[in-house]
C-alpha cells in the first residue's frame, strides 16, 4: 500500500470525501510517511489552528495514526492508508449490510462510517437514527438517512402482512406509541445485530497507532516484565515474540461478538430458511436480532421489555465506542465472490446451498488471512475454514428449495454410442417428483444437501471440501486455494480481453507447466507457430509473460541458447494492482473534471432551496442535464467500485 499510485488514489479519496484540508495533510504525510507536528506544519504550510483541527478530525476518522514516542515525548503522525483506501469500498459495504440486515442497519452503518467512530450513546441522540412514526420522518425529510428509514418501514410493513403477524405487529405498534424522545427502539437491536455479525467492533486505544508502533510498544512492555527479563538467548526471543503477539492481540482486539453468538451463529440469525428467501434480513434485524445478551451486565430495561420480547431487552452499553470492522466485511465480501464463482457453473439451487454454508463460515471467520503482505504464489499454505456440520447447513437451507430436481441420477450410465435418452429422463423425473411431492424425510434432505455440496467440491474450482470430524460429516472451504483462484481468474480476464482466447490458453499452459520452450509450448497448446509467436510477443510487451535465456555455452550464442517462456502470476498481479490503483485515480480525476465542466450548474442544483425541490426550480433542459450528470457520476463511481473489486481480490482476499 505504499506505492505511488496507491498514495495518489488515497489522497484523492480523502479529498473527495473530506475536502482539501484533509487532503493537504494526508498527502504531506503520505509523502514523508512520519512527521512530528512542527515538521508537518512546515511541509503542509498550514496554520496551527487548521492543522490541529484537521488532525483531530482525521484521527477520529482513523485516517491518521499518531504515536507519542517514549524517548523524546514527541508525537508523530502517520497516514493510515488502509482506512483511507476503504473509503472507496463503503458503498459496497453498505449494500451488503442492507441486503443482510435491512435498510435501517445500513443507515446505522453509514452513520458510523461517516463519523469514523461513534459512541453508542451519541448514536442514540441522532435524529437520523431515530425510527419513529411517520410524522417525525416527514419533519426531517431532507436527511438522507431518514429517507431510508422510511423505506425500511415500508418494507417491514409489507413483510408483516406476510408472516409473523403476531410478533411483528407488536413492536410496530410500540413504535408509533412511543415518541422519538424515548430510547430509539431499533437502534440497539440493530447495533447488536451488527456487533453479533462482527461488522462493527469496539474502538481500542491501540487502534490509533500504526501496527508497527503497537508492535514495538508491546515488545517493550513484554521485555520489561521481570519473568521475561530472567530469560536468555533463544528462549528470550521466543518468549518475547509470543508475548508481543499476545499483547498486541489483546490491545487491538475490539471484538464485540462475544455473547452475541450462539453455537457459532449470531443470535437469531438462524431463521433464515423459514421465509424462503434472503429478504428475511429485515425481520432478522428486527425480531430475531433484538437478541438478549446474558453476558452483558449493565443496561436498564426499555419499553420492549414486556414478556413477549423478554429475550431482547438489553441494549448496547452506551459507553462503547464502535467503528466499522473492515476486516470482517472483507470476509463477507470475499464469500460473495466465492458464491459468484459457484453461480457461474452450478445450478441456482446448488448456489443457494453454498450460500448457506458460506454464511455459517462467515460468522466464524474474523479476517481473510493472517499475513498483511500479499501472499506469494506457491508459498502459502492451506487455510481451511471452520468445519461446518452438514446438519447445520441442512438446517439453514430453505425448506422449500427443491434439492432433488437439480441433480441427475447416479445409477444411469449411458454407453457412449447409445443415443436414446428415454430411460434417463424418466429416472430424473421420478426422482424430482419424489423429492417435491412426497414428504421429504430429514435423512433424505440431509443426503441431498450433501450431494449439492459434493458437486461444489468438484474440479475445476473445488469450492468446498468434505471433512469427517469425529464421525460427523462437516464441510469446509479452503480459503487460500479459492482466493488464489479468484486472483488468477482476474488476471486471466485481462489477458483474454487484451490478447484473445488463444493467449489465455497459452498462459494457462505456462502457468500449469512452468517454463517451456516454444516447441513444447506449441505441442501442448496446439497453436500454429505464427499465432503462437505473435501472441507471446505481444504479451511480453504487455509484461504478462517473460522470456528466460538459458545459454548452453559460455559464449552465449543465440543459436546455442534455449529460450524459455514463463508466466509469473505474482509479478503480473502486482503490476496489475498498481495499474488498477492508477485507473481508479484516473476515473476519479475524470469525474472531478466532469464536475468542474458543469460547475455552475451543479452549484445551482445544490443550493439549499433547489435541492429536494428540483422539479420546482429547474427547467426541463436543466432536469435532463441533471439526470445525465447523475448517470455519468454513477457510471464513473460504479467503475471505480468495479476496479476496487479487483484490488480486493488481488490484495485483500
Amino acid at each position: 500500500m505504499t506505492s505511488q499510485y496507491a498514495g495518489e488514489l488515497c489522497t484523492l479519496l480523502v479529498e473527495d470525501n473530506f475536502g482539501e484540508l484533509f487532503a493537504r495533510i494526508f498527502s504531506t504525510l503520505n509523502r514523508y510517511d512520519r512527521l512530528s507536528f512542527s515538521r508537518l506544519k512546515f511541509y503542509s504550510r498550514l496554520s496551527n489552528a487548521q492543522l490541529r483541527h484537521g488532525l483531530a478530525a482525521m484521527i477520529q476518522q482513523h485516517l491518521v495514526y499518531h504515536y507519542t514516542s517514549y524517548d523524546d515525548g514527541i508525537t508523530y503522525y502517520e497516514p493510515n492508508m488502509q482506512s483511507a483506501y476503504y473509503l472507496v469500498r463503503s458503498g459496497k459495504i453498505l449494500e451488503l449490510i442492507e441486503h443482510r440486515l435491512g435498510k435501517y442497519a445500513a443507515t446505522v452503518m453509514s452513520t458510523i462510517m461517516f463519523l469514523g467512530h461513534a459512541q453508542v450513546g451519541y448514536l442514540e441522540t441522532l435524529p437520523a437514527l431515530r425510527p419513529s412514526n411517520s410524522d417525525v420522518n416527514r419533519a426531517s425529510e431532507e436527511r438522507g438517512g431518514i429517507h431510508e428509514t422510511e423505506e425500511y418501514h415500508g418494507e417491514e410493513a409489507r413483510q408483516e402482512t406476510e408472516e409473523h403477524r403476531e410478533t411483528e405487529g407488536r413492536p410496530n405498534g410500540l413504535n408509533s406509541d412511543y415518541t422519538s424522545s424515548e430510547r430509539p427502539a431499533l437502534l440497539h437491536p440493530t447495533l447488536k445485530a451488527l456487533a453479533g455479525h462482527g461488522y462493527i467492533l469496539r474502538v481500542r486505544d491501540a487502534q490509533f497507532q500504526s501496527y508497527a508502533d503497537n508492535a514495538l510498544d508491546a515488545e517493550r512492555t513484554i521485555k520489561s516484565r521481570p519473568d521475561i527479563k530472567a530469560l536468555k538467548g533463544k528462549k528470550l526471543d521466543e518468549a518475547v515474540t509470543e508475548g508481543t503477539l499476545e499483547l498486541l492481540k489483546e490491545r487491538l482486539d475490539g471484538d464485540l461478538t462475544r455473547g452475541l453468538m450462539f453455537n457459532g451463529v449470531p443470535r437469531g440469525a438462524k431463521r433464515r430458511h423459514t421465509t424462503g428467501a434472503t429478504e428475511a434480513s429485515n425481520k432478522k434485524a428486527r425480531v430475531d436480532y433484538a437478541a438478549v445478551d446474558e453476558d452483558e451486565d449493565g443496561g436498564e430495561e426499555n419499553e420492549w421489555s414486556d414478556d413477549d420480547f423478554g429475550e431482547d431487552t438489553i441494549p448496547m452499553e452506551s459507553g462503547i465506542t464502535v467503528r466499522i470492522n473492515y476486516e470482517k466485511l472483507d470476509v463477507a465480501l470475499r464469500n460473495r465472490r466465492f458464491l459468484e464463482l459457484a453461480e457461474r457453473d452450478s445450478s441456482p439451487v446448488t448456489a443457494e446451498v453454498y450460500e448457506s454454508l458460506l454464511r455459517r463460515i462467515e460468522y466464524q471467520t474474523a479476517k481473510c488471512r493472517d499475513t498483511t503482505e500479499i501472499p506469494r504464489e506457491g508459498e502459502e499454505g492451506e487455510h481451511y475454514s471452520v468445519p461446518v456440520p452438514l446438519r447445520a447447513v441442512v438446517e439453514d437451507v430453505d425448506l422449500f428449495l427443491d434439492l432433488a430436481g437439480s441433480v441427475g441420477p447416479m445409477e444411469v450410465s449411458q454407453p457412449i454410442n447409445r443415443r436414446g435418452k428415454r430411460p434417463l429422463e424418466e429416472t430424473t423425473n421420478g426422482a424430482a417428483h419424489d423429492g417435491t411431492n412426497g414428504g421429504q424425510s430429514d435423512g433424505n434432505r440431509t443426503y441431498e444437501v450433501d450431494q449439492h455440496l459434493c458437486l461444489l467440491a468438484q474440479p475445476p474450482y473445488s469450492l468446498t471440501s468434505k471433512r469427517m470430524v469425529s464421525g460427523l460429516i462437516t464441510w469446509t472451504v479452503e480459503f487460500r486455494h479459492l482466493a488464489r483462484k479468484l486472483r488468477h481468474l482476474e488476471l486471466e480476464r485481462i489477458i483474454e480481453a487484451r490478447y484473445g482466447d488463444v493467449a489465455l490458453r497459452v498462459v494457462r499452459v505456462l502457468h500449469d507447466k512452468g517454463k517451456l520452450d516454444e516447441k513444447r509450448l506449441q505441442e501442448i497448446s496446439l497453436l500454429p507457430f505464427k499465432d503462437l509467436r505473435q501472441v507471446l510477443a505481444s504479451m511480453q510487451t504487455g509484461g504478462f509473460v517473460d522470456l528466460q535465456e538459458v545459454p548452453r555455452d559460455a559464449l552465449r550464442q543465440p543459436s546455442k541458447t534455449i529460450f524459455l517462456w514463463f508466466y509469473d502470476p505474482d509479478r503480473v498481479g502486482n503490476s496489475v494492482l498498481e495499474d488498477t490503483y492508477k485507473a481508479m485515480s484516473r476515473c476519479l480525476q475524470r469525474l472531478r473534471f466532469e464536475r468542474s465542466r458543469l460547475k455552475e450548474f451543479l452549484e445551482k442544483t445544490e443550493r439549499s432551496d433547489v435541492k429536494g425541490n428540483e422539479e420546482r426550480y429547474l427547467s426541463e433542459a436543466e432536469l435532463t442535464l441533471l439526470g445525465q450528470w447523475r448517470a455519468k457520476e454513477a457510471l464513473l463511481l460504479g467503475e471505480v467500485a468495479r476496479l476496487d473489486e479487483m484490488v480486493a481480490v488481488i490484495r485483500d482476499y
Binding site: 441433480v407 441420477p409 459434493c454 458437486l455 455519468k632 457510471l635
Partner: protein, 355 residues
C-alpha cells in the same frame, strides 16, 4: 601360407554360419558384443582373432554393421540380405552416408549433421544424397521442430512423432482446421454425456429458477431444453478410449487417431476451460451443456462478434477506458496525457449511457 589360405576359407564359411545363426535366432536389431558372438560356440576355441576376422569379412560384405556399444566396446548388428545388396552397390562415400542416416532411425538427421559425422565435403555429400535419394534408399523429411532444416531418413521408415509433431500436423504444419473440427466434436460429445436433460415442463422447477437470479447452466427461455448435472462421483463420463473410438467412428478424421493424440486435444480443451478432467484424466466432463456448446460453436465461424458468455466475465480493468488505454503509462494529471485532456472517456461515457 597354406594355413592362412585354409583359415581364409574357413573364415568365409564360419562367417556365413555366424550370420545365419544371428539372423535366425535374434531380432533384427539385436546388438552383439564380442562375448555374445563367442558365446554362440560357432567360432572354435573362442578364438578372438578368428572371430574378428569373421566379423570383418561380414562387415565387408555389408552383412554386418560395425557399431560402438556401451563403454566404447565394439558391437555389431546384422543387416538383412536385401539391405546388404543395396549397400554393396554403393560407393564407399555413399555407404558412409547411408550408415549415418540409418543410425538415426525414425528421427531423421539434418544434412549438416551428416556432414560433420562423415567428414565429407559438402559437394560430395550432396552428390551422395542425390544418388541415394534417386535410388529411393532415403527420403527427405520435414521436421516440425526445425522447419528450416533439411533432414533425411531411410525411405522405408515412417517419421517419428517428434519429427511430424503427431497427428495434428500435416507436412509439418499444424492443421488448425482439423484440430478445431475434432475439438468441437469432442466437446459436444463430452457435453452430451455430462448433463442430464430434463423436460422444462416441470412446473416446480421453473418456478424455482425464476426466483433466483444469475442462472448460468440452466436456461429457461421457452422451448429451451433444461440440463442438470450428474451428482459428484458419477462414473458415466466419457474416458479417453471412449472418445477416441467415437472420433474414429465419426468419419471426421481421414486417419485413425491414437489415444495420445486425443489426449493432447483433451488437455488443450481443459486449458481452454471447456472441459474438466476428473480423477486426473480418467474421465472428462464438459463445463457447458450441449445446447450452450452448440450455440457457441455455431457463433464462432459466423462472425467476429464474440459472444460475451464465451469469455470469462469482464472486470474493472477490461471495462474502464484506462484499462485498455494505449497511453496508460504516460497518463498523469497535468501531463501531456491527462485525465482532463483524455479523449477516451467521452466516447466511453457516451457509449455506456447513450447520450
Amino acid at each position: 601360407m597354406a594355413s592362412a589360405g585354409a583359415s581364409g576359407a574357413s573364415v568365409t564359411e564360419l562367417a556365413s554360419k555366424l550370420y545365419e545363426h544371428c539372423l535366425n535366432n535374434y531380432p533384427p536389431d539385436q546388438l552383439f558384443y564380442q562375448q555374445d558372438l563367442l558365446g554362440l560356440g560357432i567360432v572354435p576355441k573362442s578364438d578372438l582373432a578368428l572371430l574378428l576376422r569373421c566379423t570383418q569379412s561380414l562387415v565387408d560384405q555389408k552383412l554386418f554393421r560395425l557399431l560402438q556399444g556401451k563403454n566404447d566396446r565394439l558391437a555389431w548388428k546384422i543387416i538383412s540380405r536385401e539391405d546388404a545388396e543395396k549397400l554393396q552397390n554403393l560407393s564407399p562415400d555413399e555407404s558412409l552416408v547411408y550408415n549415418v542416416i540409418h543410425s538415426t532411425g525414425r528421427n531423421g538427421i539434418w544434412v549438416r549433421a551428416i556432414g560433420t559425422r562423415t567428414g565429407l565435403h559438402k559437394s560430395i555429400l550432396d552428390r551422395c544424397l542425390k544418388s541415394l535419394e534417386g535410388k529411393n534408399y532415403i527420403k527427405s523429411v520435414h521436421n516440425v521442430k526445425f522447419p528450416s532444416r533439411k533432414m533425411y531418413m531411410l525411405a522405408g521408415l515412417a517419421p517419428s512423432e517428434d519429427v511430424t509433431g503427431g497427428a495434428w500436423f500435416t507436412d509439418g504444419v499444424l492443421d488448425e482446421n482439423f484440430i478445431n473440427t475434432v475439438a468441437g466434436y469432442i466437446e459436444y460429445t463430452v457435453s452430451r454425456k455430462s448433463w442430464v436433460e430434463v423436460p422444462s415442463a416441470d412446473a416446480h422447477r421453473t418456478k424455482r429458477i425464476k426466483t433466483s437470479d444469475g442462472s448460468v447452466s440452466v436456461k429457461q427461455e421457452a422451448g429451451q431444453k433444461t440440463f442438470i448435472p450428474f451428482p459428484a462421483g458419477y462414473r458415466g463420463y466419457p474416458t479417453v478410449s471412449m472418445l477416441t473410438d467415437a472420433v474414429n467412428e465419426s468419419g471426421i478424421t481421414p486417419v485413425r487417431l491414437g489415444e495420445e493424440s486425443i489426449t493432447q486435444l483433451l488437455d488443450m480443451l481443459c486449458y481452454d476451460g471447456k472441459l474438466v478432467a476428473l480423477n486426473s484424466g480418467e474421465m472428462y466432463k464438459s463445463v457447458k451443456n450441449p445446447e450452450a456448446v452448440k450455440q457457441s460453436q455455431a457463433r464462432k465461424p459466423a462472425g467476429e462478434d464474440k459472444g460475451i458468455d464465451d469469455r470469462l466475465v469482464t472486470n474493472g480493468m477490461t471495462e474502464a477506458p484506462c484499462g485498455t488505454c494505449p497511453v496508460f503509462k504516460l497518463c498523469a494529471p497535468g501531463g501531456a496525457v491527462s485525465p482532463e485532456s483524455c479523449e477516451y472517456f467521452d466516447p466511453w461515457l457516451e457509449k455506456a449511457l447513450g447520450f
